[in-house]
C-alpha cells in the first residue's frame, strides 16, 4: 500500500493573491441565439423597460431584487412566426459576473439555459458602481485585463444558486412584461 507524502503549504492568509483574474467566454450572443433557436430566421430586439409597477410585480413573483431598469430580450422568429424569446441576463456577486441566456418557448416554458460568459474579479471592480454601469443595457463590453489561458479548475464546488435565482427573476419578467 502506498503511503502519504507530506508537504507544508504556505498559510493561505499570509499569501497575497496573485492568481490572475479568470474569464471565460463560452458563447457570443448570436451564437447562443442560433443554438437555442436553430430554425429562426430573425432575432428581433424586444427589449423591456420596466414601469415602476413592473418592478414591484417582478420582485413579488420572483422574490428577487430587480437591479436594472430593463431586460434585453429578442423574439426568435421564422417567417413572421414567433418561435420563442431569447433573454439575456446576468448575475453579479462580490467577485463574479455571469452572463447567461434564458430561452423560452412562446408560452413561457424554459427551452434552454446557456452560460455566455463567466468573469471573476478580486480587484474590487465589481463593487465600483461605474464599472457596474458598463453592464447596463449594453450588448458588447470591454472586459478588464483577464488571464488569457482558460483554466480547468477543481476545488470546492461553486454553487449555481444565483443563476437559478436569476432564472426565477427572468420568468417573472416574462409573466409581467412579455406574456
Amino acid at each position: 500500500m502506498s503511503g502519504w507524502v507530506r508537504w507544508t503549504l504556505p498559510p493561505a492568509i499570509v499569501m497575497t493573491i496573485v492568481h490572475p483574474v479568470q474569464a471565460v467566454e463560452y458563447l457570443s450572443i448570436p451564437d447562443a441565439q442560433k443554438l437555442a433557436f436553430p430554425s429562426a430566421t430573425q432575432f428581433a430586439e424586444a427589449n423591456v423597460v420596466y414601469r415602476p409597477s413592473d418592478i414591484a410585480a417582478i420582485e413579488k413573483l420572483s422574490e428577487q431584487r430587480v437591479r436594472t431598469r430593463g431586460e434585453q430580450v429578442w423574439k426568435a422568429q421564422a417567417s413572421g412566426r414567433l418561435l420563442g424569446y431569447f433573454i439575456l441576463d446576468y448575475v453579479i456577486g462580490k467577485h463574479e459576473v455571469i452572463d447567461y441566456s434564458v430561452s423560452l418557448e412562446p408560452d413561457g416554458r424554459v427551452r434552454r439555459i446557456d452560460i455566455l460568459q463567466y468573469r471573476e474579479s478580486y480587484g474590487g471592480e465589481i463593487a465600483n458602481r461605474d464599472w457596474l454601469g458598463q453592464f447596463v443595457g449594453k450588448t458588447s463590453r470591454d472586459p478588464p485585463e483577464f488571464e488569457k489561458n482558460i483554466r480547468n479548475i477543481s476545488g470546492a464546488t461553486l454553487s449555481s444558486r444565483h443563476v437559478t435565482e436569476g432564472i426565477r427573476r427572468v420568468l417573472a419578467i416574462y409573466e409581467t412584461c412579455l406574456r
Binding site: 500500500m1 502506498s2 503511503g3 502519504w4 507524502v5 507530506r6 508537504w7 507544508t8 503549504l9 498559510p11 493561505a12 492568509i13 499569501m15 493573491i17 492568481h19 471565460v24 463560452y26 458563447l27 443554438l35 448575475v91 456577486g93 462580490k94 467577485h95 463574479e96 447567461y100 434552454r112 439555459i113 446557456d114 452560460i115 463567466y118 471573476e120 478580486y122 482558460i150 483554466r151 480547468n152 479548475i153 477543481s154 476545488g155 470546492a156 464546488t157 461553486l158 454553487s159 449555481s160 444558486r161 444565483h162 443563476v163 437559478t164 432564472i167
Partner: protein
C-alpha cells in the same frame, strides 16, 4: 488545425453547479451536436437523481420503497449499486442514507451533507480487511437499501431516505464522457463544478483551488483518460469569498468531516472519485486502503495546513510556489 475545427467550450447550470464541456478536433456542427448530447446525458442524470424534483427516481424511491419494491432507471440502479459497494468497502463511511425522513432533501441538491448512521448491516463482510478505518458502529435493526433483480429497489424499513448527492455528479460526468466518446471528437473535458473527467491525446491540466481560500490556486495536476473530483468547504462566490464549513458529514459523529479541509481524488471513473472524496474528507490518511481498492489516488489538506499526497501520485502534482 482549421479554425472551424478548433474547439468549443460550453457551460450550463445543472446539478446545482456549473457544468462545463469542452471538445476539440471535429468540425463545428459535429462538436455542437456532441456537446448537446452530452449535456442531455447530464440533464437526464439530474432529472433521475435530484431529490428536489418530486418526479425523480430518488424522490419516488424515498416515497415508495419503504412499503414496496419499485423499478428504477438503469442509471439509477447502477449508481445505487456502486453506492452500496462503496458503503461496504468504506465500512459505512460513505453513506447515501439520510436519517431524518422529514428532511429528505438537503439543499443544495447534489451535495452530500448529512449522511447518517449506517443503514446497512449486510455486506459488511470484509470490514476487518480494511485496515486503519474505524467503522461506523453497527446499529441492529437499522433499515437498509435492498437491490432486487430487474432493477428493483426496496427499503427494509420505514425510517430511511436516500440522497445520491455524493455520487451522482460524478456519475453524470461519466455519462457525458461516454456520450462524447461515441461522437467523433478527438479530445474532451467535462467539468461539473470541479468533478471532472477527460480523454484525448493531450493530458488536461487542472488547477486545484486551495480549500482554505478559493481565490488561490494550490497547484496543478495533469489528467488524461481519467477522472478527478474534489470536495471541500462550500464556496458561494456571491455571498463571500471565504469558505464555509464542509458539507460532508461524518456518519460516526454526525458532525462535519474534520480529517481534511479539502480533498481531491483521482480515479478511473468520476463517480468513484466523487464518492471517495467524502471518505478522504472524513478519515484522511486512513482512506489509503479504500483508495487502493479502487486504484485511486488522493491529496488532501489537513486542518493544520499540511498537504498529503498519495505516494503514487506525487509526480504528476505541481504545487504552486
Amino acid at each position: 488545425m482549421k479554425p472551424a475545427c478548433a474547439s468549443i467550450r460550453r457551460a450550463r447550470p445543472l446539478l446545482g453547479t456549473f457544468v462545463e464541456i469542452a471538445v476539440t478536433g471535429a468540425c463545428r456542427p459535429a462538436m455542437e451536436e456532441a456537446v448537446e448530447a452530452a449535456f442531455g446525458a447530464v440533464a437526464e442524470v439530474h432529472r433521475l437523481m435530484s431529490c428536489q424534483d418530486s418526479n425523480s427516481d430518488v424522490a419516488r424511491v424515498n416515497r415508495e420503497a419503504p412499503t414496496r419494491a419499485l423499478r428504477v432507471h438503469p442509471w439509477t440502479f447502477e449508481v445505487l449499486k456502486a453506492a452500496l459497494d462503496l458503503q461496504s468497502r468504506s465500512v459505512g463511511i460513505f453513506d447515501i442514507a439520510v436519517k431524518n425522513p422529514m428532511e429528505p432533501c438537503r439543499s443544495p441538491p447534489f451535495q452530500l451533507r448529512g449522511s447518517l448512521p449506517p443503514p446497512c448491516p449486510r455486506g459488511r463482510e470484509g470490514v476487518g480487511a480494511v485496515s486503519g478505518l474505524r467503522s461506523v458502529p453497527e446499529m441492529p435493526g437499522n433499515p437498509s437499501v435492498e437491490l432486487l433483480p430487474g432493477r428493483g429497489v426496496r427499503f427494509s424499513g420505514p425510517d430511511i431516505t436516500i440522497d445520491l448527492g455524493g455520487i451522482a455528479k460524478g456519475f453524470a460526468v461519466d455519462r457525458a464522457i461516454a456520450v462524447l466518446r461515441d461522437h467523433d471528437v478527438e479530445q474532451a473535458l467535462v467539468n461539473a463544478g470541479g468533478d471532472l473527467a477527460a480523454f484525448g491525446p493531450d493530458a488536461a491540466v487542472v488547477s486545484l483551488r486551495d480549500p482554505r481560500d478559493p481565490r488561490r490556486v494550490m497547484g496543478d495536476v495533469e489528467i488524461g483518460g481519467e477522472a478527478l473530483a474534489s470536495s471541500g468547504r462550500q464556496v458561494d462566490p456571491f455571498r463571500r469569498s471565504e469558505t464555509t464549513d464542509t458539507a460532508v458529514i461524518d456518519p460516526r459523529t454526525l458532525r462535519p468531516a474534520r480529517a481534511a479541509v479539502g480533498a481531491t481524488v483521482r480515479a478511473g471513473q468520476c463517480m468513484i472519485a466523487d464518492a471517495l472524496t467524502k471518505v478522504v474528507m472524513i478519515v484522511g490518511e486512513a482512506a489509503a486502503s479504500v483508495l487502493a481498492e479502487f486504484g485511486a489516488s488522493a491529496l488532501f489538506v489537513s486542518p493544520g495546513g499540511d498537504l498529503r499526497i498519495s505516494g503514487n501520485w506525487q509526480n504528476t502534482v505541481r504545487l504552486a510556489a
